[in-house]
Amino acid sequence: MNEFLQQLINGISLGSVYALIALGYTMVYGVLRFINFAHGDVFMIGAFSAMFGHSLIKRSGLVMPDWLVALVVLTLSMVVGALLGTLIEKLAYKPLRERPRLTVLITAIGVSLLLEYVGQLVFGAAPRGFPSLIESKSLGGFGSLQLSSVQITVVLVSGGLLMGLRAIVMRTRMGLSMRALSLNPTAAALMGVNTNVVISFTFGLGSALAAAGGVFYASLYQAIDPFMGVLPGMKAFIAAVLGGIGVLPGAALGGVLLGVLETLVVGYSKVLGIPSGFRDAVAFLILILILLFKPTGLLGKAHREKV
């Protein structure tokens, strides 16, 4: 039982990172109907910005309490992520607004590869250690159950960011126009919404969350490299599809669900009789099953093609 709870906790903390990245996929899909393949690489850039930000603060000699350093670093990487996201949209995707979705998908693959290999050129291919932004200590005390401060912080802060996002989407004017745009771009334009601004904002917001996800992921695993975004990126996309692409609560649900499932499969690989190496295949298997049996995802609605 304890072991199960332990796996569950590990799964939820990993899942909340997936949820953060998945939100970006879902938001972009909502307004532009395409899969932003490069989203996982914004996640990577977020982690690297946090690392450089951290060392910059340490070297500057400023004395700050640890929590403030962590906050500054997180904010910094989210800002970098947001800027990068809007920049990518402006340069690579905006010229393709009226083109077939496949053209945009191929471009997105190009952008993804570009970020990875420029990253490799700049940061080097070898994994680097990621500084601990918050002191890592065990908060255990429930029998053999291990709760680390990092895990708890990741879950709590992710939860906070999700709430913040919900507030923006549900309560602000910009959020209203985002929802309107995803429901009907033509009608939104006819209400006076400047669609370019809303699309840029959506990219920025989604990318900021991905960058935050990168910081958390790096804090959990304490190592980063230019290709760290590839698998979490794809898994987060799968999480978005699982929850119903275009549906914000769906992305959060899908992320947590996927994190938990994946951790459980690894934790119980011996009992289930699957090698733990199949960890990464689990997500893809879920994707294939969901697309075949419930392509709209758990919380999504169906669209029909007009003939």
Binding site: I35, L102, T103, V104, I106, G110, L113, G277, D280
Partner: protein
């Protein structure tokens, strides 16, 4: 009619090449002797032609964007290596009595086995995923490709993550360009028939194609199976050229390599894709010293191409040929 002439010329040319090299790794008359490096580049060009032309049938002609091509190559590579490496001696001893060229026959059996196994995998992947379209299909095929890789990584009988080493070097220029000629011929003739125009119809408008009596599912599955068969052959050629294969060599990036060739050549243009395979293999070699720049160049190429010239750089290559020019 004119496109048939250029197809015939291409097939004859590759057939002649393969004749020149039959049975040997070195060239025979009337071609000069190649040194090992040039030879290996030529073989790589041939393998890339096979895999790009076959992927083009799926992604270009039929419009079903697949990102799992490397998975089928892996199946072909492992399948054929499994025959030659693990069952090679038994089969050879069986054949030795009956045929004069046992090694070639063994390789043929291995290639066919790899290709057919890949085709079957293609069917298994294709039948369920072809209900999906566009970017969803791309992601699901990517997922299947990754699953194939993970399965290989975890199967001890095939060397797990270490892969298989010591595969016999059966691949010659003759074999490579023979298979390339076959791939170009099959894909070329296929889409140049009333039956084969169905592939293009499926790409242009699925609903109209169904309404005109075309079983779109069947067409997509056939495209997938034929594409997988030839990529399996490409994988087999590759395995018996390099001599060593591991699952990591058939990851997502390998699929992207082939996709780049198809896009550069122009989706749906066999001639363009063949030329692109040559150009990009050479470019690859030029950039080999500066490996870290290679993918950056490819990535930029993809982005710029999609924005400025989504139909591909060489799509209209065929029209430049003098006998295909129209008034």
């Amino acid at each position: 009619m004119k496109s048939k002439i250029s197809l015939l010329i291409a097939v004859l040319f590759f057939g002649w090449l393969s004749f020149c090299f039959s049975g040997h790794r070195e060239a025979s008359w009337p071609l000069p002797q190649f040194d090992g490096y040039l030879l290996s580049i030529l073989i790589l060009i041939g393998i890339n032609i096979v895999s790009a032309v076959s992927l083009n049938l799926v992604n270009g002609h039929t419009g079903q964007f697949s990102l799992g091509h490397a998975g089928f190559m892996a199946v072909g590579a492992y399948g054929s290596a499994w025959i030659t490496l693990i069952h090679g001696k038994e089969i050879l001893s069986l054949m030795g009595v009956f045929v004069s060229m046992p090694a070639e026959c063994l390789f043929l059996i291995a290639l066919l086995f790899g290709g057919l196994f890949a085709a079957v995998t293609g069917l298994i992947v294709g039948i369920p995923s072809l209900r999906l379209r566009g970017d969803y299909l791309a992601i699901v095929t990517l997922g299947f490709g990754e699953i194939i890789r993970v399965i290989l990584q975890n199967s001890d009988a095939l060397g797990g993550a270490r892969g298989l080493a010591g595969i016999a070097s059966y691949t010659t220029l003759g074999w490579t360009f023979g298979v390339a000629a076959l791939a170009i011929y099959v894909v070329g003739t296929l889409v140049n028939s009333t039956y084969g125009r169905g592939f293009l119809a499926v790409r242009d408008d699925e609903i109209a194609a169904e309404a005109m009596g075309i079983n779109t599912t069947k067409y997509k599955v056939v495209a997938f199976a034929v594409g997988a068969f030839f990529s399996g052959l490409a994988g087999g050629l590759y395995a018996h050229f390099i001599g060593y294969i591991n699952p990591e060599g058939f990851n997502f990036l390998k699929s992207v390599d082939v996709v780049v060739i198809v896009i550069l050549g122009g989706m749906g243009s066999t001639a363009g894709v063949t030329v692109a395979a040559v150009v990009l293999t050479l470019l690859n070699e030029l950039l080999r010293q500066t490996e870290q720049y290679r993918m950056i160049v490819f990535a930029l190429l993809l982005i710029v191409l999609m924005i400025l010239r989504p139909q591909g750089l060489i799509a209209d290559f065929g029209r430049l040929l003098p006998w295909r020019r129209r008034a």
